[in-house]
């Protein structure tokens, strides 16, 4: 008996599932309407098939802002004095966990270098300051050292400082791959043209510009 049933199963397997008899049985079970319904549902499924691929996009932030405000005291008739952002009249004691001890931080991975454009949103009043030169410093691990300023996001032409008295003048620091560096803004100024004591606001703007290379 069991051998006979096995033979039937083997014969069915050889015929395949969609042989004529099977289709007849399904037709008898569901009726013509049922068969047509299955066909309609299958067609709906086929109509909605699209070719697609999913991509996960993982943004990486290279630039992190440090101190967002500071207060400097300048004296009438001072010449070529230095102020730091942050820190005021002296360089701050660096502390990586304290954002008030640096101006901004740049972290690069192995794929992209990063240039940061440094400029003033509005030029300093030339009737008050005779010079307002902006440079950048970076933390070497033991001390603050002067960073090289470039005149473009890519290229090797350097510039000594950014002229804060000229509107739109900007400088760039270029940071290589796979590094983490903290930067400080250094301003050398001369307030020797007037004896006014009205408050002056200087707003520094940083623009991180990821690059393939310099």
């Amino acid at each position: 008996m069991a051998n006979y049933q096995n033979q039937i199963l083997i014969a069915r397997a050889r015929r395949g599932f969609f042989d004529l008899n099977t289709l007849r049985r399904i037709g008898a079970f569901l009726g013509l309407n049922g068969i047509l319904v299955l066909a309609a549902l299958t067609t709906i499924g086929l109509a909605l098939v699209t070719y697609s691929a999913t991509v996960q996009v993982n943004p990486i932030q290279q630039f992190t802002i440090g101190a967002t405000s500071d207060s400097w005291t300048v004296y009438v008739n001072e010449v070529n004095q230095v102020r730091y952002l942050s820190g005021g009249s002296s360089q701050p004691t660096f502390n990586a966990s304290d954002t008030d001890t640096y101006a901004f931080k740049v972290v690069t991975d192995a794929n992209k270098v990063c240039a940061v454009k440094i400029e003033l949103t509005e030029a300093i009043n030339i009737s008050k300051f005779s010079n307002f030169n902006i440079t950048a410093q970076y933390w070497t691990g033991a001390a603050w050292a002067d960073a090289t300023l470039y005149d473009a996001a890519t290229g090797s032409t350097t510039k000594s400082s950014i002229d804060g008295l000229t509107g739109g003048d900007a400088g760039y620091i270029n940071q290589a791959v796979s590094t983490t560096t903290y930067y400080l803004i250094k301003v050398t100024y001369s307030y020797d043209l007037v004896d006014e004591t009205d408050q002056v606001t200087a707003t520094f703007q940083y623009t991180p510009l990821p690059q393939d290379s310099f």
């Binding site: 009726g31 309407n33 047509l36 319904v37 309609a40 549902l41 086929l46 109509a47 098939v49």
Partner: protein
């Protein structure tokens, strides 16, 4: 008899499913179809029309299956009643 009841139940379920799916498919094709660039359907430009007409067909045929269930479920009772009367 048992197999016939089973068949009718299957037809009812299939009919309901088909009615609902057909409604949503045709509704999608008629009112919510967005022609997006760079989206390639298996059936190409005919995908929308295929979806719509298949939806209509699914709704009609689903209704017919439900009708089969409603019509044939009472037949065995009548047949039994007739047999009892004959006896």
């Amino acid at each position: 008899m048992e197999q016939k009841n089973h068949s009718l139940r299957v037809r009812l379920v299939l009919g309901l499913v088909s009615l609902i799916v057909g409604f949503f498919a045709s509704n999608l094709a008629l009112f919510h179809w967005i022609e997006r660039t760079n989206i390639y359907y298996l059936l190409g430009d005919y995908a929308r029309y295929t979806c719509a007409y298949s939806g209509f067909a699914a709704m009609i045929l689903g209704a017919l299956l439900i009708n089969d269930f409603l019509t044939f479920r009472s037949l065995p009772k009548r047949k039994n009643q007739i047999e009892k009367i004959n006896i």
